[in-house]
């Protein structure tokens, strides 16, 4: 039997015709996502630098609790998220609302989305040579006036990674808000205008509340950027200056694969972040459920 409704509420597992279609995909996902997800726990209780050296019990976890870098890195990631999220959601919403129905809508949205696909190593080169504080193009051009001192000021390092993240992702956010905006029926605006609403009131009292599902979705996606920011960190600041951009993703990388590789400890850190990420997304799922 072929079910006609894809959203059938039946909870029990069911095989339908063409069920074999999921086999290759599930096999690969089991081996390369599900199995590592279990194995990360196993490695986290092992003494495992570059090679397996034996059972470690909870040593790695004990070390984690005593390591000041861990708390600092978590705090830093939180700060990073708190800076990125409002900028990301705010700018994406503003751009989408502003562009809606204008002649330039398509071309501007295409431009804003481009950085998310652009060869990331090339983006890093562009950002580095342009924004480098001592001899970079912008600092040279403005005689040191527009200069982000990310070689020696922690805040500037964070600001650089935040800006890079916004640069990469604001186009995606704009597309999401734009989709939400287009799904608002025109009658709503008509009725509000007939009732004498001003353009500002339309935005505040009609558009923003009706965009809520899109905005919640953006918040979920945007908070993941905090975990994913390690690539930008690796490319631009390598965790510096003085560890002020060592976000959790980068900390795991440094711990497990850096100059003194320690896979066991890296796994324990991964478990901690996984636990935090899942708790966080469980809360978000609840928020999403009430909104969508």
């Amino acid at each position: 039997m072929i079910s006609n409704s894809p959203k059938s509420k039946e909870a029990r597992f069911r095989l339908a015709p063409a069920w074999w279609g999921v086999i290759p995909s599930l096999l690969a996902l089991t081996l390369f996502i599900a199995y590592p997800l279990i194995q990360v726990f196993q490695i986290s209780v092992q003494k495992y630098s570059i090679v397996y050296e034996g059972f470690a019990g909870l040593d790695n976890y004990a070390r984690m609790l005593a390591d000041p870098n861990v708390g600092r890195s978590l705090l830093l990631t939180l700060i990073f998220g708190l800076c990125t999220l409002p900028l990301f959601v705010g700018l994406a919403t503003l751009c989408a609302i502003e562009l809606e129905g204008t002649r330039l809508e398509r071309v501007v949205k295409a431009i804003l989305f481009l950085p998310s696909l652009w060869t990331i190593g090339a983006s890093a080169i562009g950002w580095y040579t342009l924004y480098e504080p001592d001899y970079g193009m912008l600092a040279t051009l403005t005689g040191g006036f527009l200069r982000l001192p990310w070689h020696d000021k922690g805040w500037a390092g964070i600001a650089l990674i935040v800006l890079f993240t916004i640069w990469q992702n604001v186009g995606y956010g704009t597309l999401i808000v734009s989709a939400g905006l287009k799904s608002i029926p025109t009658e709503v605006f008509e009725a509000a205008r007939v009732d004498g609403a001003t353009e500002i009131q339309l935005r505040r009292l009609i558009v923003l509340p009706l965009l809520r599902p899109s905005l919640v979705f953006l918040a979920v996606v945007g908070s993941l950027y905090a975990i994913q920011s390690y690539t930008a960190v690796l490319l631009l600041t390598q965790g510096g200056p003085f560890g002020s951009t060592r976000v959790v993703g980068y900390l795991i990388y440094e711990t497990a694969f850096g100059t003194a590789p320690n896979l066991g400890y890296g796994a324990a850190l991964s478990v901690l972040i996984l636990a935090l990420a899942f708790t966080f997304s469980a809360f978000q799922a609840r928020a999403l459920k009430s909104d969508l």
């Binding site: 597992f13 279609g21 390369f32 990331i120 090339a122 905006l181 796994a267």
Partner: protein, 279 residues
């Protein structure tokens, strides 16, 4: 001025329109466009700066135009990684869509594993780097280009994207094909696949870009100069000589060309699928 448009018609169109823009919003959007394009335009410009110009006190004055930077790009350190990445990312993008399509169809037909995919989608892949490294080591796949292919064969995201497309197809087509005696495989290749072309194109472009833009992962699993990918090569160039703007710009522009071409060809489909997939 359009004379034959009656005033009341014009008013009606306006009444249903979204709120008008503000000057503040226009300025912000303008600044965002400048902010977005600045690094890209700068890269394009810097790739044509002659080497001598960099040693003058003020590089801001246009001092010349040269293709020399492009001609001097090293083969072993850049062109080879570029070709390798082109090959691997294309293979991964193709296989990902090929594997995801039957899965999306099976889910739509009623095999209820979608929650499992949604769960796997929510696992941040970066947190599995350590166990994945251990797994590849056990499988003897470290420093083997297969390490850049096998773990990416299946992607919950690609399945989800294609599923979003399959859901929108009128299921009557499938029923009709069934009545005519088509097998599931025939339905998949002759009915679903042609109708799903926009989604499949968008999914391939996104899969290609995602794989193409991996930095950390290839650095870790292919710790061998012979198997450097394009991102590893670019990172190394930047770290080795961050002041050689001309060469860096040329390398950056050349390695961005595949993305530019893909985007020029399929921008509309990609943005449409992202917008449409969320309604």
């Amino acid at each position: 001025m359009i004379p034959n448009l009656k005033p009341e018609t014009r008013e009606k169109v306006q009444a249903g329109a979204p709120p008008k823009g503000t000057w503040f919003g226009r300025i912000v959007v303008g600044l965002m466009v400048v902010f977005t394009l600045l690094p890209i335009v700068w890269l394009a410009y810097s790739s044509f700066i002659p080497k001598e110009a960099l040693f003058k006190p003020d590089v801001t004055i246009p001092v010349g135009f040269t293709f020399q930077n492009y001609l001097e790009l090293p083969f072993k350190e850049l062109i080879r990684p570029l070709l390798l990445s082109l090959l691997l990312s294309s293979i991964v993008a193709g296989l990902q869509v090929l594997i995801a399509l039957p899965a999306a169809f099976a889910i739509r037909a009623g095999t209820n594993v979608l929650p499992l995919y949604l769960f796997l989608l929510s696992v941040p892949a970066e947190l599995l780097l350590v166990p994945l490294y251990g797994l590849l080591k056990d499988l003897n796949l470290l420093n083997n280009p297969l390490a850049l292919v096998l773990p990416f064969l299946a992607s919950p995201f690609t399945v989800f994207l294609l599923y979003g497309g399959v859901v929108k197809l009128p299921w009557a087509y499938v029923e009709a094909a069934k009545l005519d005696g088509a097998t599931n495989l025939q339905i998949l290749s002759k009915v679903i696949a042609p109708l799903l072309k926009p989604e499949m194109t968008a999914a391939s472009v996104l899969a290609f870009a995602a794989h193409w833009n991996l930095v950390l992962y290839p650095k870790i699993v292919l710790n061998d100069k012979n198997w450097a990918t394009v991102q590893v090569a670019l990172t190394e160039m930047l770290q080795k000589d961050p002041n050689n703007w001309g060469a860096l710009g040329a390398a950056a522009m050349l390695t961005s060309l595949p993305i530019l071409v893909l985007y020029a060809l399929f921008e509309r489909r990609v943005t449409r699928v992202i917008e449409g997939g969320l309604k």
